[in-house]
C-alpha cells in the first residue's frame, strides 16, 4: 500500500513537516525536523526512480478520484529524474544549513526559515509530480511564495529589494501561467494534462489556444530565468542566504525547465509547439544570446555569488538550447545538462557558503590568498569550476559532449562552435577566482580564517563526487534521460 502511495508521500511529508518546524521553538529541533523530512524525501525519490525504471510511468489518483475528474499525480522517467535532482539537493543542503544559517540569519527567524524551506521543497516536488495543470499553478505559488520569504531572510538589507523584485516578476510569471491554463480550460473543459493533450488538437487552430501558448511560454520563461527575463535572478542569488542560493539555484530554475518541457511536449504536443508555433527558433535565439551575454557579464563581476548567478543564466541557455533543437538527442542533452548543472551549481554555491561563513563576504577582493587557509573549500570550488567549464572526466564534459553531438546531428555547425567556444569564457571567469585565491598574497585579515567545518565540507564534496562520478561513468544518467526524452517525444508523436 505504502509503495503505491509514494508519489503523494513525496509531497505530503515536507508539507506536513513545515508547520511542525514553525511550532518547534528551538532552532536545533526545527533543523532536525527539516533534516529528517528532506532525507525521507530523498529516500522516497530513490524508490520512485527505481520503481519508474521497473514498471514505467506511475499514476496516482488523489483521494481515489480517477483522472480526468480528480487530480492525478503522474511520474514518468523525466519526472523521476527531476524529483531526484530536487531531493538530492534538498537532502544535501540541510546538514550544511545549520552552521550557515546560525551565522547568517537572526535566531528568531530560524524556525521560519526551515518552514519556508520545507514549503519550497514541497512546492517544487509537487510541480514535478502533478499531472494537473491547475494543481501545477498551486504548487508553483507555494514554492514561489516561500522562496520570496527565503530570499528576504538574507543578511543584507538589499535582500529585501531582491526578494521584492523576484516577487513582482514571479507573480507576473505565475499569473501568465494561470491565464494560459484558464484559456486552455475554457476551450477544452479539462485540466488534466493527458486529457488536455487529447482534446487540444481539435481546437488547436484557434487564436485562444495560440494566446494560451504564448502566455504559458512567457510565464514559464520568467520562472526559469530565460534571457532576457532573467533580471530578477542575479540579485536574488547574490543577496539570499548561502543555503538558499545553493538550493534555489540548483532546483527552482530546473523545475521551471521541466514545466516548460511538460507544456511543450505533453500538453501542447511537439507538432503544435515546434512546427506550428515555431517556438524552437525563438528559444534557440534567446538561448544563444543568453549564453554569450550572460557569460560575458559573468567575466566582469566582482562578487563571486553574482558571477555564479550570471553563469547560471548562461547555463540555462545551454539547457534551453538542447530543448530548442526539438529532437530526442537535443532534449536528452538538455536534460543531462539540467541534472549536471544542478549538481555543479549546488556544489559551487555550497563552496561559496563555506567561504561566506569564514570571511563574511563573497567579494573577490576579500579572497586574496584564500586557498592557503581554506584548501578543501577552494579545491571543491576548483573541481566544480572545471566541471562548469566542461573539462573531460567531469560531468560538464558529458553535457557539452551530448549538446555538441545533438547540435551536429541536427546540422547546427555554428552551435557546436558556440558551445565549445563559450566554455572558454567560462574558463576566464573561473580563472579570475583561482588567480586571486591561489596566486595572490593573503591580506592581513586572512590569518584568522580557518577551514570550514566538516559538516559543511562533506555535503559540498558529495556533490563534487556526483559530478566526478557522472564524468567517469555517465551511463546511469544518460540512460534515464534517454528514456525520459523518448517518453516526452513519444507522447508528442502519438
Amino acid at each position: 500500500m505504502l509503495i503505491s502511495d509514494l508519489p503523494v508521500l513525496q509531497v505530503v511529508i515536507p508539507l506536513a513537516a513545515a508547520p511542525v518546524c514553525l511550532l518547534l521553538r528551538n532552532p536545533r529541533h526545527a533543523w532536525a525536523c527539516a533534516l529528517i523530512a528532506s532525507w525521507l524525501v530523498l529516500a522516497i525519490a530513490l524508490m520512485l526512480v527505481q520503481r519508474v525504471h521497473a514498471v514505467g510511468t506511475l499514476s496516482y489518483a488523489i483521494g481515489a478520484w480517477v483522472a480526468p475528474w480528480g487530480i492525478e499525480y503522474r511520474i514518468d522517467m523525466a519526472g523521476a529524474l527531476m524529483v531526484l535532482v530536487v531531493a538530492i539537493i534538498g537532502a544535501l543542503v540541510m546538514p550544511f544549513a545549520r552552521r550557515s544559517i546560525e551565522h547568517e540569519i537572526l535566531e528568531k527567524c530560524t524556525g521560519l526559515f526551515y518552514t519556508c524551506y520545507l514549503l519550497c521543497l514541497c512546492g517544487l516536488l509537487g510541480m514535478v509530480v502533478t499531472g494537473d495543470a491547475f494543481n501545477l499553478f498551486v504548487f508553483l505559488e507555494i514554492s514561489s511564495l516561500s522562496s520570496y520569504v527565503l530570499i528576504s531572510l538574507g543578511s543584507r538589507r538589499r535582500a529585501l529589494t531582491a526578494a521584492y523584485q523576484y516577487l513582482i516578476m514571479g507573480t507576473i510569471g505565475a499569473t501568465f501561467i494561470l491565464i494560459g491554463v484558464g484559456l486552455l480550460y475554457m476551450m477544452t473543459g479539462t485540466l488534466n494534462m493527458v486529457d488536455l493533450s487529447q482534446r487540444l488538437p481539435e481546437v488547436a487552430n484557434t487564436r485562444t489556444i495560440m494566446a494560451a501558448f504564448a502566455f504559458v511560454t512567457v510565464g514559464v520563461s520568467i520562472k526559469l530565468a530565460l534571457f532576457p527575463l532573467h533580471q530578477w535572478l542575479p540579485n536574488a542569488y547574490t543577496d539570499a542566504p548561502s543555503v538558499v542560493s545553493a538550493f534555489i539555484a540548483a532546483t527552482a530554475t530546473k523545475v521551471g525547465v521541466y514545466v516548460l518541457l511538460r507544456f511543450f511536449f505533453t500538453v501542447f504536443g511537439m507538432q503544435f509547439s515546434f512546427d506550428a508555433m515555431h517556438v524552437g527558433e525563438i528559444l534557440m535565439l534567446l538561448a544563444v544570446a543568453g549564453i554569450l551575454i550572460a557569460s560575458l557579464v559573468a567575466v566582469f563581476q566582482d562578487n563571486v555569488k553574482r558571477m555564479l548567478a550570471y553563469s547560471s543564466v548562461a547555463q540555462i541557455g545551454y539547457i534551453i538550447l538542447g530543448i530548442s533543437m526539438a529532437s530526442a538527442a537535443g532534449v536528452s542533452a538538455g536534460m543531462i545538462h539540467l541534472f549536471n548543472h544542478a549538481m555543479i551549481k549546488g556544489a559551487l554555491f555550497l563552496a561559496i557558503g563555506c567561504i561566506f561563513l569564514r570571511l563574511g563576504s563573497a567579494e573577490l577582493r576579500d579572497m586574496h590568498g584564500l586557498a592557503r587557509h581554506m584548501p578543501w573549500t577552494m579545491a571543491a570550488f576548483v573541481a566544480g569550476g572545471l566541471s562548469l567549464i566542461g573539462i573531460p572526466l567531469t560531468s560538464g564534459f558529458i553535457s557539452k559532449w551530448y549538446l555538441a553531438s545533438a547540435a551536429l546531428s541536427g546540422g547546427y555547425w555554428p552551435l557546436v562552435v558556440l558551445i565549445l567556444a563559450s566554455s572558454l569564457i567560462g574558463l576566464i571567469y573561473m580563472w579570475r577566482v583561482v588567480e586571486v585565491a591561489y596566486f595572490h598574497v593573503p591580506g592581513t585579515m586572512m590569518h584568522k580564517v580557518r577551514e570550514a567545518p566538516a559538516v559543511m565540507l562533506i555535503p559540498t564534496w558529495l556533490l563534487i563526487g556526483i559530478n566526478l562520478y557522472v564524468g567517469m561513468d555517465a551511463s546511469l544518467i544518460t540512460d534515464i534521460t534517454r528514456q525520459g526524452a523518448e517518453i516526452l517525444i513519444g507522447e508528442a508523436l502519438q
Binding site: 516578476m169 560575458l296 566582469f300 573531460p392 551536429l408 557546436v416 565549445l420 566554455s423
Partner: protein, 562 residues
Amino acid sequence: MTGISAIPPALPLFLGALLLPLLGQNMRAILSLGLPLLVLVIIWQVPEGASLRLTFLEYELVPVASDRLSRLFGTVFAIMAFAGSLFALNQARIVELVAALANAGSAIGIVFAGDLLTLVVFWELLALSSTLVVWSAITDRSRHAGMRYLVVHLLGGVMLMIGVIGHVSDTGSLLFTAMAPDSPAHWLILGGFLINAGAPPLSAWLPDAYPEASPSGMVFLSAFTTKAAVYVLLRGFPGADVLVFIGLYMVFYGIIYALLENDMRRILAYSIVNQVGFMVCGIGIGTEMSMNGSAAHAFTHIIYKALLLMSAGSVLYMTGKRKCTDLGGLFQSMPLTTVCGIVGALSISSFPLTSGFISKSMISQAAADQHLAIIWFLLTAASAGVFLHAGIKFPWFVFFQKDSGLRPPDPPLNMRLAMILFAFLCIALGIWPHLLYAILPYPVEYVPYTRIHVVEMLQLLLFSGLAFFIMLPYLKRTLTITLDWDWFYRRLGPRAINRVTQVLSRWHAHRRIDFLRHVGTLFGTLFLYHGPRGILARTWATGSMVLWVVILLGIYLVAYYY
C-alpha cells in the same frame, strides 16, 4: 613482469607528480629520476595492440594501445624525462618538476592513446602542464608569455574537440585511426594538431613562450608538445599533401627568424619550428621511407635539441645573460659546456657520425625517391640554412667570437652529467644507426653511410660554413627584436584600433574624447555593456523588467496572430 605491463605507461609519472611536493630533497631526486626509467621499462612491456579497453557512453575507448610507433616516441619521451630531471635537479622549483613530470606523462599518454577522447584529455593536460612549466620561472614576462601560450593552446584544444565530435558523428567511432583532410571535422582535427606543431600562422607561440621558461624548463618544453604533435600527425594524417607545404614553410620560417635573432634560446626555439618543419614535410610525403625519416628525426631531434638547450641553459644559469651580444669567449672557462654545445650543433646540422645525419637524410632521400625535385632542393638548401643558424651561429657567438670577459665555470655535476649523457647518445646513434633503425615503425633499407651521402653532406656543410665566416660582418648580432605573426595580435590589433579611432576622430575632431571613450577598444565596449555597471549587468528597475516581459509576450502574440 606480467604485472608491470598492465600499468598504463603515463600513470606513474602523474602519480609521481602528485607525490613530489610531499617528499624531501633526496626522495624527490630518486623519484624524478626513477620514474622515467620505470616508465621506460613499462613501455617495452606493454603488449602490442590494445591492452586496456573501457566504454564511455556508447563508444569504445582504448586508453592504452601500443605499436612500434608509439613505443618509439614513448621511449624517447621517457629518456628525455630522465635527462631533463637530471639537468633540473639542483635548480628547478618543485612546481616546475611537478609540471614537467605531468608534461612528460601527458605526452606519453598521447602516444599510447588508442582513441580520440583519451587523446583530447591528454592533449589538454599537455597544454596545462606546459603552461605551468612556463609560469614556474615566476617572472612577469613568463606570466604574460604563459597566458598567451595557454590561450593559443586552448584554442587548438577547442578546434580539436569540435573536430572529434564531428568525426564521431560522421563515423560513429572514437578510435584513433588514419584520416585524410576531407571533411570539416578532419580539417579541424588537423588544425588542432598543427597548432601544437608550431605551424603557421600561429608558429609564434613557440619562440614567444619557451625562452621565458627557466633554463631547465625550456629543456623539458622543447621535447614534448611539438613532438607529440608530430606523433599524432604521423598516426592521423600520413601522406596529407598539404603537410608538405606547411612543413616547408616552417623550415624556412625557422631559419630566417633564427638568423635574425639575438637571444640564444630564442635562436634555438626558432630552430625547433625549423626542425619540426622537416618532420611535417616528411609526413606529408607519406612514403614508408619518409615516415620512418620523420619518426627517426623526431627521436634524434629531441635528444640534440635538449642537448643544445642544456648547454644554452647552463650558460644562462651561470652567467644570467641570454643575448648573443652579451656573451662570447666562454670556451675558456666552460670547456665541457662548449664541447657538448658543439656536439649538439653538429647533430642538428646532420654532420656525419652524429645522430642528425642518420635521420634527416632519410627525409631528403624519400623526397628524391618520389622524384619531388623541388622539395628535395628546398630541403637541401634548408640543411645548409640549419647549419648556419644553429650549427655555427649558436656556438660561435656564445662560446667564441669576441671575448666578453665572462669567466664562469662549468655548471654543477648533475647538469654536466645530463649533457654528457645526451652528447654520448648523439654520437652513439650517429655511429651505430641500426640501434635506432631497428625500432622504427617500418623496416629500414636505407644505408646512411654511403660515399655519396657523406661527401654531399660534407660539401654542403663546408661551403655554408665558409659562407658564414665570409659573411660574418653582416651577421654580427645587434640588439634587435624581431617581429613575427604574433605582431598581428600583440601589436597590430591595438594599434589598428588606435589608428581607426584617430582617423574617425579627425572627422569628428570636436568629439574625439567622446568617441574614444565609447569605442576605445573591444574590451572597453564589452565592459561598457557587460561590466558591473553595464546595461546588461546592472540591476534594472522592476518596471523595465516587466517591460521586457510585455515585449516578449507581445512578440509571441503578434507572431501568432498573423
